[in-house]
Symmetry: C2
Subunit: 207 residues, 2 copies
């Protein structure tokens, strides 16, 4: 773990030493969160337990990460976008463009890190049972199933898990196993090819 | 490694001792194949190199596995079906039922091992660069892209890699990360939901 403040978040920077609210606190919370989420799963892990493990006040979680969800995304999923915005960003706009927005958002986000975040995530999922639960809790239940529920409430859970299968598979194919030419295709080509399939999972007839 | 003959293959069974063509030879070839495929990749590995590593005659590869491809499937992918038949089995019949046949074949096969084969495969893919190449060479190039090329020759390679993304994602969702209710859905429900998407990748308009 480095102790550097992430400048892209615009946090007050360059605090030094072990002081409440400083970057050491942020780092300690990230370390503690990885441990507690791995041990308890997303639903079982409490903000209090994580703060206690880090030796800081629970209010520091909100100060640095906004919420338990925000801490989870930074510590475990290591996603660069704000978690509070993800569902809203994806779910807004016309229902028949949901697939397109989901695929474009994920591919653009993952491409920006050269697939490194997704690869790290999959490696932790493949080797840690808990990481798989977390992925399920966060992406499928909190994002895809909520979007499905808004767009086509019948079978929303099944729809959400189907979207999860394609998004995880896209990440695997593009970044981990690198199926060409999909791995090197430009974002718009991927969106045009994959979005209608994600859209069908969300709002189409599933048979 | 066990030394037991797989009775389902109908091989002459219960040979004992280190004799040419015996089950020790089969085991030695499987061990050598895993090593050589990992070191050289599928295309780089030769039947001769594997046989030499195993200390047996190259003819034993054909005797026990039919071909390099057959050895690869048994040793690395650990699939229970005959590789020579896979493309044929999937590609036969009406072109508009390809998606259905692919999804049903993979889900039925993987379900039969409780997902164990797929999970082992993904773990090796996530941790070994070579295993990813092998998966690409075998499934995407030799099966999905060939099927796509027969059904809709335009963009066959892109289509093959898209099918790969959904099939790998389905395996991840059903067996590794276990997105419910997809993970517990019965085979026919999965086929009805996923097959039209695979079909679109093979023969539909990709935008």
């Amino acid at each position: 773990m480095t102790d550097t403040v992430d400048q892209t978040e615009g946090r007050p920077s360059r605090r030094r030493g072990r002081r409440p609210g400083g970057t050491d606190t942020r780092t300690a919370l990230l370390d503690a969160a990885r441990q507690v989420f791995s041990e308890q799963g997303y639903d079982g892990a409490t903000v209090r337990a994580i703060a206690t493990r880090a030796g800081v006040d629970a209010a520091m979680v909100n100060h640095w990460f906004g919420s338990k969800e925000g801490l989870f995304v930074k510590a475990v999923l290591q996603l660069p976008f704000d978690p509070a915005d993800l569902f809203t960003r994806l779910a807004e706009g016309p229902a028949d463009a949901l697939g397109e927005r989901i695929v474009r958002t994920f591919v653009t986000t993952w491409d920006a890190t050269g697939g490194g975040h997704f690869t790290a995530l999959v490696r932790s999922v493949s080797s840690h049972e808990q990481a798989a639960h977390l992925l399920n809790d966060f992406f499928v239940k909190e994002v895809f199933t909520r979007i499905a529920n808004q767009a086509a409430p019948d079978q929303a859970h099944f729809r959400g898990s189907l979207v999860g299968s394609q998004i995880v598979g896209l990440g695997m194919a593009r970044y981990v196993v690198r199926f060409e030419p999909l791995a090197s295709a430009d974002v718009e080509q991927v969106v045009a090819a994959v979005a209608p399939n994600v859209q069908r999972y969300l709002t189409g007839n599933l048979g």
